[in-house]
Symmetry: C2
Subunit: 345 residues, 2 copies
């Protein structure tokens, strides 16, 4: 399900905070609305946050009859500070900044608006092409292993359209496999503590009529030992030069159990998620988040008021546990520093 709509110069965002219970579309009237929607989590998912930043910049030009260089610098700064840890937000604004700066005195404000909108949709299109290519790569490998057998696939967290603003990464593979009539069933990890699986991935699969059931993370060994899982697809936040992969906490559990039971475990992420300056995963900083995510459900306390929790948001899956890493350049199985080198340009 696409998380935004743009028709007749009107931009609406799906309020992801209300999912899966309510599908509320919020019309974005100006740059301020869009910056707020980043801050207040109406939108989420690294790529979508980046694109929303570009929309915010475009809308600023629309309302700014005489945009100045100083004003432009200021709005770029303001957008980037909407969610300071969102790497894609910085990346998109920094990427577009110089080309627009050059044109700021030669184009009208509406031309600048069109220019940024066009750029944003071009970026979405590029990502969509990459992710579609990754989906095909993943499905090709499944076919190589399993032929045309209908498969039980498994995924963790949310890596679909809601996060990407276009075809997803890991969920993109699953969706395309379903299009190809290769999916029997999908196991959706609920993904504690933030429940991206039961709230968002389940919602997306439901929209696509892909058969699924939510499971707790604890059920992984049960499912895999009972041969109920044919392959696992996850996304990545960051991938080191040797294939060590940082992703939502719980990913590495799956990888290790899958490795033990010889079930293909795939990481699906665009090349922009790779950091070849890191020789392995040990240097990747693991964000520790508020322990209320574990101890509360919304405003309801689960544990006693004095209890504390430890809430690492990510984990590192050792590269040697990964069957294959898929990016827009293709698939590398049994990743190693030597093998992955070919993707480092």
């Amino acid at each position: 399900m696409m998380p935004f709509r743009y028709e007749n110069n009107q931009l609406c965002l799906l309020d992801q905070r209300l999912l899966p219970h309510e599908e509320k579309w919020i019309e974005q009237k100006n740059s301020h609305d869009l910056i707020e929607s980043i801050k207040n989590m109406t939108v989420r998912g690294a790529p979508l946050i980046g694109f929303t930043g570009l929309f915010a910049l475009a809308f600023w030009f629309k309302d700014q009859l005489k945009p100045t260089v100083d004003g432009y610098k200021e709005i770029c700064q303001l957008i980037k500070s909407a969610r300071p840890t969102a790497v894609n937000l910085m990346f998109e604004i920094d990427r577009i900044y110089p080309s627009i700066l050059k044109k700021i005195n030669s184009l009208s404000h509406m031309e600048l608006y069109q220019e940024v909108m066009k750029d944003c949709f071009a970026q979405i299109d590029i990502l969509n092409q990459k992710n579609t290519h990754m989906a095909h790569t993943g499905v090709d490998d499944l076919k190589k292993i399993y032929g045309s057998k209908k498969l039980n696939l498994m995924t963790h967290c949310n890596t679909g359209m809601l996060a990407c603003g276009c075809t997803g990464t890991a969920l993109g593979v699953i969706s395309y496999a379903h299009d190809q009539n290769l999916v029997n069933h999908v196991w959706v990890d609920e993904t504690r503590p933030y429940l991206q699986g039961s709230r968002l991935t389940a919602f997306e699969l439901e929209k696509e009529n892909i058969p699924f059931q939510v499971v707790v993370e604890g059920a992984a060994h049960y499912l895999m030992s009972q041969k109920k899982v044919d392959a696992i697809f996850v996304g990545a936040d960051r991938i080191a030069a040797n294939g060590d992969t940082a992703n939502k906490v719980g990913t590495a559990n799956l990888a290790l159990i899958a490795h033990h039971y010889k079930i293909p475990f795939y990481v699906v992420a665009p090349l922009s998620s790779f950091d070849f300056s890191l020789k392995d995963g040990s240097a990747i900083h693991i964000e520790l988040r508020d322990d209320k995510e574990i101890l509360n459900y919304k405003e309801h306390r689960i544990a006693s008021h004095k209890a504390q929790a430890f809430n690492p948001s990510f984990d590192i899956t050792p590269g040697h546990l990964i069957h294959g890493i898929i990016c827009e350049k293709g698939l590398i199985t049994n990743p190693s520093i030597e093998k992955l080198k070919v993707w480092h340009v």
Copy 2:
């Protein structure tokens, strides 16, 4: 924390449904109250349910001026049907049934009341001795491996006093290790979907001033790969002749990750949990529970209303992944059918 109090012929049960937020003691006035407390989950945990059944039988005699054999048969049946899947409840009532039947015409109803109460406390005492012995066995093995080093221990689900009515099994080891000044920190799996870890184990550790933090099941690989776990202790619902162990779903994930990182993983359970007629775990039936446990938090819906979940309540940990199984007869490391045979009498 003991889940019942018996003073001056007055029996009170801790309402475990309200934990950890409220400690409410409910006076049990008669057999009906006690049967209700089993039915409505005021009490939980296999051993405690068994003992509560015996209390219910005793209280029936107290109120029954002229107990008859027919009435006795009827009340035994009624108690056993309070929770039909609770094996300990059947076991305790079936165990006491013939000896009381013999005395029903020769003793007064108050003597019969005293007789059943005495028997119940004797059973609690026997279990307490067994569990205390298991705790010592576990701590002895930790000392053999780690000397007097202060350890980071990990546990899953709830296996403490709240479940047992006396010293717990896995949590009994952790509690005794803490008494011996061997505990630095305890990692408590929140234990989805029913949250026995964050609700009950955390509550018990807090009461005993044992330092702990709750973690999501997904954090297991992170903690173990970062060398933050020295040993893991879990309980068991059923153990097959070769050491394959059925326990709360999520247990086998921990065992496999621990095995990979060479972290000692212990199963702690009385001999009554063993079933030597099962040559391995494949014959153990895995209960599938209501998927609302996963899709709802109390009355709040997490996933969309159409979403479904798959909710196996237990999993089977292969015996070869277990470092040691502890029962009242001692410890067997690297369990196998041959080694465990010595416990089969």
